[in-house]
C-alpha cells in the first residue's frame, strides 16, 4: 500500500510536465472514475476468463498437476453425443423461452400501464417472482407439479382432464422448465417495458387518437416502434440468459429425467465438478462463450437496422 502510494508521486517529480498534462486531460479523470470498476472486473472476471482458456487446453481433474493437451478437449467435444443433445435442449429452451417471456412481458406491461385501482399490487405481484430465490422457486414448482400431490394435477382432475407426470416425464420436463423460468423472469422484462412505455410522448398518442386511429393501429404504428430499443435490449439479454440456463435446472430436475433437461451449462457443471474433467468443462464454456458472442452480435446487427431510435 505505502509503496503504491509513493509511485505516482515519484513520477510527478521526474516528469512534471507530462504528469500535469495527464492530470489536466479528461482522459485521466475518466479513467480514474472507472478505475474501481475496471480493476474489480479485471481481477474477478478477466483473469479467470484468461485462466479458463488455458484450462481448456489442459487435461486436469483440478486436484493433481495438469498437463497440456492442445486442442484435444475441443476435438473430443465434436464427437460427444451427450454434448450434442445438450445443445439441442438448450436451443429448444431458448427458442421457447425468449419469445414467450418477451411477448408475455409486453402484454403484461401494456395491461399494467394504466390508472386502475390496485395497480401497485398488480405490479408488485408481477415483480415478486423475480426477487424470489431460485431455490424457493424450484421447490414451489416441484410441489405444484408433483404428479400425486401437486395442485396442477388436482386442477386437471377437477376439470376432468388426464393426470400428467410433468417434471418426471422426459417428454414434458423441458417445457415445465420453460414455464417455471418464464414465471420467475417475466417481471424483469415487464419493468423495462413499463419504463419504456412511460417514456412514450403523450402528444404522439393524442395526435393519433385525434386522427381517428384505432387502439390497435396506435399500438402497432406508434407504441411498438417506440419500444424498439427496449425490445432489442430485452431480447439480447433474455437470449444470453437462456443460453446460460443452469440454476433452475440444478434446483429442480438436475438435468433429468433421463437427461431430457441437460442443457449446456448443466453438462459443463457435470463434467467439471462431478466427473473431475476440468479441462473439458472449460472447453465447453469457451464454445458456449463464442456461440453467445456470435448470437449477440447478430441480434445487435439486425437490431441496428430495424430498431427506431427516437433521438
Amino acid at each position: 500500500m505505502s509503496a503504491a502510494s509513493h509511485a505516482p508521486r515519484a513520477a510527478v517529480r521526474e516528469r512534471p510536465s507530462l504528469a500535469r498534462r495527464l492530470i489536466r486531460s479528461d482522459h485521466l479523470a475518466g479513467w480514474a472514475f472507472v478505475a474501481p470498476a475496471v480493476i474489480l472486473i479485471a481481477v474477478f472476471a478477466l483473469i479467470p476468463i484468461g485462466w479458463s482458456l488455458l484450462l481448456s487446453l489442459q487435461s486436469t481433474n483440478l486436484i493433481a498437476p495438469a498437463h497440456y493437451v492442445g486442442l484435444a478437449n475441443y476435438r473430443a467435444l465434436t464427437k460427444d453425443p451427450a454434448f450434442r443433445s445438450a445443445i439441442g435442449h438448450t436451443l429448444v429452451y431458448t427458442v421457447l423461452f425468449v419469445p414467450i417471456s418477451v411477448g408475455g412481458a409486453l402484454g403484461i406491461a401494456v395491461a399494467l400501464n394504466r390508472k386502475i385501482r390496485g395497480i401497485r399490487f398488480y405490479r408488485l405481484a408481477v415483480f415478486v417472482p423475480l426477487v424470489t430465490s431460485t431455490v424457493a422457486t424450484g421447490l414451489i414448482f416441484l410441489w405444484l407439479l408433483d404428479p400425486t400431490f401437486g395442485l396442477v394435477n388436482y386442477v386437471l382432475h377437477l376439470l376432468g382432464l388426464p393426470q400428467q407426470q410433468f417434471l418426471q416425464d422426459p417428454n414434458q420436463a423441458l417445457y415445465c422448465i420453460v414455464a417455471m423460468t418464464v414465471w420467475s423472469w417475466v417481471g424483469f422484462d415487464v419493468i423495462i417495458y413499463l419504463a419504456a412505455l412511460q417514456g412514450i410522448p403523450q402528444d404522439l398518442l393524442e395526435a393519433s387518437e385525434m386522427d381517428g386511429a384505432s387502439r390497435w393501429a396506435t399500438f402497432r404504428s406508434i407504441v411498438l416502434p417506440l419500444l424498439g430499443p427496449a425490445t432489442l435490449f430485452i431480447v439480447v439479454w433474455s437470449t444470453i440468459n437462456a443460453l446460460q440456463l443452469f440454476d433452475e435446472i440444478y434446483v429442480s430436475t438436475r438435468g433429468g429425467p433421463l437427461g431430457s433437461t441437460t442443457v449446456i451449462v448443466y453438462y459443463l457443471y457435470q463434467q467439471a465438478f462431478q466427473f473431475f474433467n476440468g479441462g473439458y468443462g472449460a472447453a465447453i464454456a469457451y464454445v458456449l462463450f463464442v456461440a453467445i458472442l456470435i448470437v449477440t452480435l447478430l441480434q445487435l446487427w439486425v437490431g441496428r437496422r430495424r430498431v427506431y431510435y427516437s433521438s
Binding site: 475496471v38 474489480l40 430436475t253 438436475r254
Partner: protein, 435 residues
C-alpha cells in the same frame, strides 16, 4: 486533483482487501502454514461444513481438546455447505495454503488421493497399535483407502435401513417386518400398502438418476449376490442375473404404482411424515424430522434375498501436508477425536452413528440409543455394510450411467435387461478409456 489520483489507489486497495477478505478464513492457516510452531506450540486449522447440533459439537470438542493439549491449538473454521468443500479446498491447494484437516465427502477420495499434498496415513497408523484401525467399521475403512493408501480417517459412517409406518401396516393387515424378512415379504408389503385412491404408496425411491438413485440399487444388487464390477475391476458386472432380479423388483413395484418417485428434492420425507408412504429406505439423517412428525414408526434392516447387505456413504477427515509439526499435531487431534470415548460423546451429542465398532460395548452406549429411538438398528446395521463402491476416479461417470438405467426402469422406458446391458456397455467404455 489530488483526489483524482487517489481514486485508483483506493480502488486498488479495495480490490486487495477484497482478496484478503475472501481468504480471511485462511488467515489462521497462513500463520500456521508459515511455521506457527513457536516454543513447541502448534496451531492447526480444521475446515468443516457442519450445521446445527454437529456445528456446536465440533466447536465444543475442539475447545475441550485445546484445554487438555496445551501445545496444540485447533482452529475450527466453517467453510459453508459441505457440498462446496471441494472447490474451496482446491482453491486453497492452488494457493499453497490448504487447511491441515478438512472434512471431505468419501466419493471424492479417489480424486483427492491424486493430490501430492494429501498425507498418507498408513505409516502413522501402523506405528500406533493403540489407534486400532480395525476397530473402525469396514465401510468407513474402505472409503478412506485408495489403492492401499489410507488418505483419511472416517468422519461419518451411515447406512440404509427400513423405516416403516406402523399405523399403515396395521391398516393393511400386515405383521410388522422382522430383521430376517425377504424380498418377497417386502414386495408383498409394498403392494398391500399401496392405495391410489388414498394417495398412499408402499415405498419411496429417489428417482433423480444421481448417486442417491444408484446407491439404493447397489444395496439391492449386493443383497441378490451380485457385484458392481468384475473382480479385476476392468468390466461391469452389475448386468448379471442378480442385477436383473433387483431391477425387476423395481420395475414390478413401479408399474403397480407402489413407489412414490421422489425427484431428488427429498419430498419423500414430507410425504412419509404425512402418512402417505408405508416404508422408506433411509438413514439416521432423516430421524429427527420423523420423530418431530409424530408418525408411529419402526426401524428394521433392509429385506434380504441372498443376504441383508446395506450400503454406507462414509465421509473422511483428510490431512494436508503443511510441514511435520503440523502433520504431527493434526494426527494427534484426529486420533483423539476418533477415539472410542470421544466418538461416543460425539454420537450422543449429534445423533451420528459411532464410527468404531467397540463403542457399542461402552458404558454410555445405552444413553445414546435411548436418546435417539431406532438409532440402535442403524448402528448395528453397519455390520451389514460389508461392501463399498469401487474406489476409482471414474466412479462418478459409472454412477451417472447406472443412474440413467435405473431411472429408465422406474419410468417404464426400458426393460431391466435392456437398461442394464446398455449401462454395462457404457461402463465398459468408461473403464477402458485411458486416464
Amino acid at each position: 486533483m489530488k483526489r483524482l489520483i487517489l481514486l485508483p489507489l483506493i480502488a486498488a486497495a479495495l480490490a486487495l482487501s477484497a482478496c484478503g477478505g475472501s481468504s480471511s478464513n485462511g488467515s489462521g492457516t497462513s500463520k500456521a502454514a508459515s511455521g506457527g510452531t513457536s516454543g513447541g506450540h502448534t496451531t492447526i486449522t480444521l475446515w468443516e461444513g457442519y450445521t446445527e447440533a454437529e456445528a456446536d459439537s465440533i466447536k465444543a470438542l475442539a475447545a475441550e481438546f485445546n484445554k487438555s493439549h496445551p501445545n496444540i491449538t485447533v482452529n475450527v473454521q466453517f467453510y459453508g455447505n459441505n457440498d462446496y468443500a471441494l472447490q474451496k479446498v482446491l482453491a486453497a491447494i492452488a494457493g499453497g495454503k490448504p487447511p491441515d484437516i478438512s472434512y471431505l465427502y468419501g466419493s471424492w477420495a479417489p480424486n483427492i488421493a491424486t493430490n501430492p499434498q494429501v498425507v498418507t496415513l498408513n505409516k502413522l497408523i501402523a506405528q500406533d497399535p493403540s489407534f486400532d484401525w480395525n476397530d473402525f467399521w469396514p465401510a468407513g475403512r474402505k472409503v478412506a483407502t485408495v489403492n492401499g493408501k489410507i488418505i483419511g480417517i472416517p468422519a461419518l459412517v451411515d447406512n440404509l435401513a427400513v423405516v416403516y409406518n406402523k399405523k399403515l401396516f396395521k391398516q393393511a393387515g400386515l405383521a410388522t417386518p422382522t430383521p430376517n424378512w425377504t424380498w418377497s415379504d417386502f414386495e408383498n408389503a409394498a403392494l398391500k400398502l399401496t392405495n391410489p385412491a388414498a394417495k398412499q404408496f408402499g415405498w419411496a425411491y429417489v428417482n433423480d438418476a444421481s448417486e442417491d438413485t444408484v446407491w439404493r440399487f447397489w444395496a439391492m444388487l449386493w443383497q441378490a449376490g451380485g457385484s458392481i464390477l468384475s473382480p479385476d475391476g476392468k468390466h461391469a458386472a452389475f448386468d448379471s442375473a442378480a442385477g436383473i432380479k433387483a431391477a425387476t423388483l423395481l420395475q414390478t413395484l413401479a408399474a403397480k404404482h407402489a413407489i412414490y418417485l421422489d425427484n431428488g428434492s427429498d419430498n419423500y420425507l414430507s410425504v412419509f411424515n404425512g402418512g402417505h408412504i408405508g416404508m422408506l429406505w433411509t438413514g439416521p439423517w432423516d430421524l429427527s424430522q420423523i420423530v418431530q412428525s409424530k408418525v408411529d414408526y419402526g426401524v428394521t434392516t433392509l429385506p434380504g434375498d441372498v443376504n441383508h447387505q446395506t450400503i454406507s456413504g462414509p465421509d473422511n477427515w483428510v490431512m494436508f501436508n503443511n510441514g511435520s509439526a503440523h502433520t504431527a499435531a493434526a494426527w494427534t487431534f484426529l486420533k483423539w477425536l476418533t477415539s472410542p470415548a470421544i466418538d461416543l460423546k460425539w454420537a450422543t451429542m449429534t445423533g451420528d452413528l459411532p464410527i468404531r465398532a467397540s463403542v457399542a460395548k461402552m458404558d454410555g452406549y445405552s444413553k445414546f440409543t435411548s436418546k435417539y429411538p431406532g438409532i440402535a438398528i442403524w448402528a448395528a446395521n453397519l455390520a451389514n455394510a460389508t461392501q463399498a463402491r469401487p474406489q476409482i476416479t471414474v466412479y462418478p461417470k459409472i454412477s451417472t450411467a447406472v443412474g440413467q438405467a435405473v431411472q429408465s426402469v422406474l419410468l417404464g422406458k426400458a426393460s431391466p435387461q435392456q437398461a442394464l446391458s446398455q449401462a454395462a456397455q457404457q461402463v465398459n467404455g468408461i473403464l477402458a478409456a485411458p486416464g
